[in-house]
Subunit: 214 residues, 4 copies
């Protein structure tokens, strides 16, 4: 119970210490990449000693791997409840596309962390098998809804659901991942609430119209 002033560390609560470190690491790795991240900065922001990172995670690279898993986990894309209360494939698909957009909007650091992992050619992914679990369900869910829509003659058939998944991911993900270059080119602040709403509406429309039967 002895709590240090100004610090969030509680002696004798290692899981809390781990959480503090992971949270700080997510920020640092996402902003600076694996190579650019500073162990000292992570320790400082987590309110722990540098050595604590080594005690709990072993090395910078292992901490990065744990952070990547932590990042994917925090997305909770698999949360089916997100689209509960909707009826019909079209409405569900709309909800899903919008939900993914909102998820990305609320987890910018993860967006950059995933970009970093791609630059590392995905070499850390196989080391965290849970990552596939966290994400694969989203693909299944899209397939489910799409198939249902095709059956009900609402969606046109012949679309590969994995392609559709990539498209749904793309139209939200890239917006946030490349928000600075996109904003610069058209000289508008894409982070403005109005722009965010416009984007959300646009992608829901485009995806739905792109797959609907006519």
């Amino acid at each position: 119970m002895a709590r240090k002033a100004d610090k969030g560390v509680v002696r004798g609560d290692p899981s809390r210490t781990r959480a503090l470190i992971l949270s700080a690491a997510l920020k640092e790795f996402s902003e600076n990449g694996l190579g650019g991240a500073r162990i000292e900065a992570i320790a400082g922001n987590a309110g722990v000693n540098k050595q604590a990172l080594y005690y709990h995670f072993g090395s910078k690279e292992k901490l990065y791997q744990a952070t990547l898993e932590y990042g994917y986990e925090s997305l909770r894309i698999l949360d089916k409840e997100a689209i509960s209360g909707t009826s019909g494939p079209a409405e569900r698909m709309r909800a899903l596309v919008g939900y993914f957009f909102d998820t990305m909007a609320g987890n910018r650091p993860v967006v950059w962390l995933v970009s970093e992992e791609n630059r590392l050619r995905g070499r850390n992914l196989p080391l965290s098998p849970r990552i596939r679990d966290f994400t694969a369900n989203f693909v299944s869910l899209i397939r489910e809804i799409y198939d249902e829509g095709v059956e009900q003659k609402i969606f046109r058939p012949g679309i590969d659901s994995e392609q559709l998944w990539i498209t749904i991911v793309s139209v939200s993900y890239l917006y946030f991942g490349n928000i600075y270059t996109l904003s610069y080119i058209i000289n508008k602040n894409l982070d403005d609430p109005k722009m965010l709403k416009a984007r959300r509406d646009h992608i829901v429309d485009i995806v739905l119209l792109g797959i609907e039967r006519r």
Copy 2:
């Protein structure tokens, strides 16, 4: 005329030296980011002395800026000839979407470099005013074609052409930028020629159906 074996440097041809450095820098920065890139690696791959980078570009950061500009320039997205020989807005739009996909496919390093610049919050963009020139024309071209299509009652009205531009960029760009994580999640190699073709066809369809009138 005296050319060193294995090296690309020719005494007295500084513009060639600069080009060699920029080419090597594009590869290094795109693979490792600004912080992770190694000056020594760039110099080695360019076949020049480490100090030459400082003589010609001043610092690592300035070289990065020059490389970013060089990368955008090499995309040549503005090349209108790409869609010459096409007739009608629909066909032109199809050609444009496909052309952008092909451009990304052929310029992977630039894709990563742009991701890196976003992680740096776009701080280097204002330093290279030419970058906007290289890219803004692409936005205009999309608007032109779209407006023409609306006029001809081929495309549905009410779509913001900048949103459309972002979408067109997204569905191609993210595929290459996140190819490793996407491949891992669905356990398929997205770099396979068949997959590339499938993706190209998919995005052309989705975009067109998403904007066409019905």
Copy 3:
């Protein structure tokens, strides 16, 4: 108790480590100046790791500042005991002039370090407020003795005690600071004990005769 052979570092005694570094730095900076000093040489002579200098002092420039303060402190010009046991202003002034000469003779590195600081236009002095404390007392002491001598009609009045201080400092300081050029010009080794004694006698005489009433 585990002490490394040849090295002066004792684990767990950081103040000793700092002292070792400062001592080595005084030698190196005084002989080579700020720009010419080598971090590696200081670390080597102190028997510590190069990085230890950065851990304890932050940068070369900050180490230089700490060294400057350390140098002034080691002069201990303020030590009033130096002239204890003397009676009368004349005798005290003689003792003081001689004492300052001896101090300079025994602290050559500090003499050069102060020259270096002058070439740097004194830019580091304001950063170490203690330096003024170390030196200002000497000025006061001279004024005290001088005033006493004037009161007792031993010294002639009208001399500015700060000018007198500069003169006392000059006739000793420059001898050591410029000992190489002076020796060369008159082709004599001014570091010879006989020459040192001659100089000491000369300056005591000159200063006293220069201020005595007649």
Copy 4:
């Protein structure tokens, strides 16, 4: 006659080029020392190409030696005319002390250059035999005047004229060489015209009273 705009170099006038380089070198070496001086800075300030320094002087060290000689030469301490028009040893000695002060006041860079040479332990002096010529006469002149004064029973006998020379040099030289540290300690700007005059008066008095017979 072809003169480059903005530059002081005249094609085909090597002695002028040498002079420009030496002048710039005096400034640079005096402000930054041998190690701290930058070849590029000297070339830039002289308005010549870096390579010109090598053409004319061979190396940085040799340029430093030439600059040292140039510096001593420019003092022209040997100029007897400085004290022409004076009558009697006392007046001549006063004139001489004041003249040396004025010389130092007007040649600050040389003062620092000589300090630098002392830090280099005078290793470059033997390489420039003319330096002794430039300075030795000043010692002789002091001896002459002093001996004359002793003969005329104006000065007290028994003073070593070389010691007297060092003292005369000291009370002026140190004032300028250490002007920053001295100013800081007493918190006054010693470069102020009033202070300069006060110092000049003080040293003339002190030296004369210090050697006069009573």
